[in-house]
Amino acid sequence: MLQIKDISKSFEKFLALSNLSFDVPEGKITALIGPNGAGKSTLFNIISGHLRPEKGKIVLKNKDITGLSPHIISSLGIGRTFQIPSLFPKLTVKENIMAAYIVRNGKTFKFFGIDRKSEMAADSIIDKMNLSEVSNTPVTSCSYGVGKELEIAMAMATNPKLLLMDEPTAGIPKTEVGNIIEKIKLLCELEHITVFFTEHDISFVLSIASKIVVLNQGELIFEGVPKEAMESSDVKEIYLGKDA
């Protein structure tokens, strides 16, 4: 689905990613883990087009997408959620989702009237995600949890083939994490979406991912199934070792 090929990126003198290569398999859930500063967010920003790598290629289904504009990458089927909810604060929950549908329906340059199709589509996803109560509330007045769910709803509205999720459970109470996992799993199976997400909660990763990629200081130290990751001495040392 997605191939990361020999990607390097540095900021000033700090090497954020060095010669990184791995694949994200189609139709599966792949997790990217690693301690803070490992380069997870940098890699996401490179995939989504917000940063340019110094070296290497990002290939989506045999198409080189390296260095394309973020809006083009998004329209090629890469959706994204942000670690800290990044929404349109003064718009209502429904308008946030509608914005995504308007672009998808090609109504960006409709200057008069309304787009009923987008409105209905937004209503339907709001229903599915149980957000009806806050549908007409501006996002600034919504809870953090609603923001997190809206992140997912908006990404879904772009009709992604590949969904990048930056720490989908960050800031969510432990009791609600299960709920979010279920929603992600369900959406992916239902819509056949490939998921690639970052996480630091290892138990969450084990329960959901079928492949794990571990980064440390910009370098790939493990790539494989979750069970093997638990047994890898490198992973234990830099990641799990912290707790031991």
Binding site: S48, G49, H50, S69, P70, H71, I72, S74, S75, G79, R80, F82, S86, L87, F88, P89, K90, L91, T92, E95, N96, M98, A99, A100, I102, V103, R104, K107, T108, F109, K110, F111, F112, G113, I114, D115, S118, N136, P138, M154, A157, T158
Partner: protein, 313 residues
């Protein structure tokens, strides 16, 4: 019904404005004209400022080049219709060319470039004596025959204002309007839902320059003259203050702000040297005590949350 109440109030206001020349003296009518010209000008700015999130400091350029284009064309050829079309068209050309550079920037750099471009155009108009009349401007601009009395000119500025305000209201609440707001509020997020933010922002700037161009025509009808002052940055700053005072997150804010600014400057006009001081105080008070502007403040007080949302979708 809330909807009906609002429409009734609006219709009463429009009827009152249309019939104002029957009861008011010619000076008051002139002041009202100025309010309508300024209000449209401010609305055009607020499309990019309040909705598009772009701090545009050179709005006066679009009003100015439109007013000059009309005036120069009519003086040389005598064709009013072409002049009226030419004004906004030239404003759109300026808006497009400048916008192409501007959308590459954001925040303070965007603002700085608008000031630079605006002053550049002003300097050209000011120095190019043989073409623009230089500092003198054009003291007497011909108008079509149906705009010969002050009442006719007043009604013209009012009708131009009403039609343009209606069009802007529709745009703000359209699918494009929603994406313009989205882009203004969070550019990165807009990109990640596939919005071509540069093109959306450029379109916003072009539309804004078009309506500013229309306000330029309205300005000529009101003043029957043009001078380089109308392109000067102070003219841009004045409507920026009007927008902020009235409230940039409401549709009516810039209209109310313009009325307040024009009324105060008119009343205080015998103390002309203190005008900047007075405007400064108004801005200070509104920023400190009414950060959402007068209209935003009133809406919050009334607790008319639904209406506020509707206005600023």
């Amino acid at each position: 019904m809330k909807f009906n109440r609002k429409v009734y109030i609006l219709l009463i206001l429009i009827a009152a404005a249309l019939t104002a020349p029957l009861v008011l003296d010619s000076y008051s009518i002139l002041v009202l004209s100025e309010i309508f010209v300024t209000a449209l000008f401010a609305l055009s700015l607020n499309l990019v400022l309040g909705y598009g999130g772009m701090l545009q400091f050179h709005q006066a350029v679009f009003l100015g080049v439109s007013a000059y284009s009309y005036s120069l064309f009519v003086l040389h050829s005598g064709s009013f219709i072409i002049g009226i079309v030419l004004g906004p068209a030239v404003a759109v050309i300026f808006g497009t060319v400048m916008g192409v550079f501007l959308v590459r920037l954001s925040g303070i750099y965007f603002g700085m470039l608008t000031i630079a471009l605006g002053q550049l155009v002003w300097a050209v108009v000011f120095k190019w004596y043989s073409f623009t009349g230089g500092g003198n401007g054009i003291p007497s601009v011909p108008l079509p025959g149906f705009l010969s009395t002050s009442t006719e000119r007043y009604e013209a500025t009012l009708i131009i204002f009403l039609i343009s305000a209606f069009a802007l209201y529709k745009i703000v609440n359209s699918p494009f309007g929603l994406l313009l707001k989205a882009t203004g509020q969070n550019n990165t997020r807009a990109e990640s839902i596939s919005v071509n933010t540069k093109v959306v922002r450029l379109t916003g700037i072009v539309l804004s320059s078009f309506f500013a161009g229309i306000s330029g025509i309205s300005y000529v009808i009101y003043s029957q003259s043009v001078s380089p002052d109308i392109l000067y940055w102070k003219n841009s700053a004045e409507i920026l203050v009007a927008c902020l005072v009235g409230g940039i997150y409401t549709f009516a804010g810039p209209i109310v702000g313009s009325a307040v600014i024009i009324l105060i400057t008119t009343i205080a006009s015998q103390y002309m040297e203190y005008i900047a001081f007075v405007l400064g105080i108004i801005l200070l008070v509104s920023v400190l005590f009414m950060p959402d502007g007068i209209v935003g403040f009133i809406k919050k007080r009334i607790g008319d949350g639904i209406a506020a949302n509707k206005r600023y979708q």
